[in-house]
Symmetry: C2
Subunit: 176 residues, 2 copies
DNA sequence: CAAATTCGTATTGAGCCGATACTAATGCGC
DNA sequence: GCGCATTAGTATCGGCTCAATACGAATTTG
C-alpha cells in the first residue's frame, strides 16, 4: 500500500498524504469537510494538516471557503482539477483490481468483518469514529429519497448518505 | 493505523517506520534478514533503509553482522533490547484486540480473502512477494519436524517455516 | 463584557525520504 | 589470472512531512 500510494502520487509529484487528503475530501459529507475533521481522520495535528491544505490549495486541487454560521471554520471542497486528478490516478483502483479473483460473497464477508474491527479499533483509540450515514444509528429514512440525520436535524439526500461522516455512531446489536 | 503506530512509537521516540522495521526483522527468516529485503518489504529505497538501520543500530535495537558466504551482504537481527521493546509496545496488539468481538471463523475467512488480495496486489505491482513458508510452493515436509526449501535446498526447522520469506512463491490452484 | 474555549494559521526545528554518487565484493567472459 | 558488469550496502544532500509552540479571530460561558 505504501508503494502503491507513493507511486500514484509521484506521477503528479504529490506525497502520499496529499492523495489521502484528496481521497478523504472526495468522500466527506457536510459535517466533515473541515481541516479539523481531516486531521482527525489522518491522525495528524491540525497544524500539519493546515500545511497540507496550503499546498493543495496552491496547486488548485481544493477550494476553501468560510462557513456562514461559524466564521472560524473553513469548509473544504475538491476543485474540478482535484476531482479530475483523483479520477485519473485512482489510488484505490489497485485494491479493487487485487480483489478480482475473489468471489463477491467472500469480499462482502471480509469487508463486514474489517468494518467491525475498524469500529472497535477506533473506539479503543478513543479517536474519531468515521463512517457512512447509511450504517449510522442517527440516520432516519423519511421517504424514498429523503433521509434525515437525527443528531444534527438536517435533511440529507440519498447520495449524501453514502458519504463519510465524522460524527458517526455505529449501530449496536450487530453480533455477539 | 497511522495514529496507532505513531502513538506506540512516540513512547520510545521512534518513528512509525522504525517500528515497522523492527516488526519485520522479528519475522524475517534467514533469506530475508538483509537491508535489501527490508527495503523491498517497506517499499523504500535501500539508501533510505540504510539510514533507518543506522538509527536502530545506534539505539542498540538491532545487530548487524557480515554474511559468511557473500561478504557484501549484511545480516540483521533484533537485539534483546529490540525484542523487548517489540514485546512491550506490541504495535500489532491493537489489531488483535480490535477483532475480539468477531468470531474466529469470520476472522479466518477474512484473513484468507485478504491474503489473496495481497498476493494479487503484489503481483500487479511486480514487487517483492513476501509470505510464510508454510504456504509456499517450495516448502516440503521431510519429517515430523523437519522441512525443506526446494528453492534454496536448505533444511528448515518447524518454527522457521512460520517466518516471513522474500522468495515466497504462492501455491497455485487455490480458487477460480 | 471578560475569560475560557475552539478553529485555523504561521513558524521553527527534527528527521524521513529519494536521488545520486560512491566503495567493496561477486560473477562473467576471456 | 584480468577487465567489465552487476549487486549489496553506505554517505551526502535537498525537499518535504510532521509536531510543537505561539498566535489571531470567532464563539461560548458565566
Amino acid at each position: 500500500m505504501r508503494s502503491e500510494l507513493r507511486k500514484a502520487g509521484s506521477e503528479e509529484s504529490l506525497q502520499p498524504v496529499h492523495l489521502q487528503a484528496l481521497v478523504y475530501l472526495g468522500k466527506a459529507n457536510r459535517y466533515s469537510n473541515t481541516p479539523q475533521a481531516l486531521a482527525d481522520y489522518l491522525g495528524l495535528t491540525k497544524g500539519t494538516v493546515s500545511q497540507t491544505l496550503l499546498l493543495l490549495d496552491r496547486r488548485g486541487l481544493i477550494e476553501r471557503f468560510e462557513d456562514d454560521v461559524d466564521r472560524r471554520v473553513v469548509r473544504l471542497r475538491l476543485s474540478s482539477a482535484g476531482e479530475q486528478l483523483l479520477a485519473e490516478s485512482q489510488p484505490m483502483l489497485a485494491w479493487q483490481n487485487a480483489t478480482r479473483n475473489i468471489s463477491p460473497n467472500r469480499i462482502r464477508n471480509a469487508t463486514s468483518a474489517l468494518r467491525e474491527a475498524l469500529a472497535t479499533l477506533q473506539e479503543d483509540n478513543e479517536g474519531a469514529v468515521f463512517g457512512v450515514c447509511s450504517s449510522c444509528s442517527w440516520c432516519q429514512k423519511l421517504s424514498q429519497r429523503i433521509y434525515r440525520c437525527g443528531k444534527m436535524g438536517d435533511r440529507l439526500s440519498g447520495p449524501e448518505t453514502r458519504k463519510l461522516c465524522r460524527i458517526y455512531a455505529a449501530k449496536v446489536a450487530e453480533s455477539a
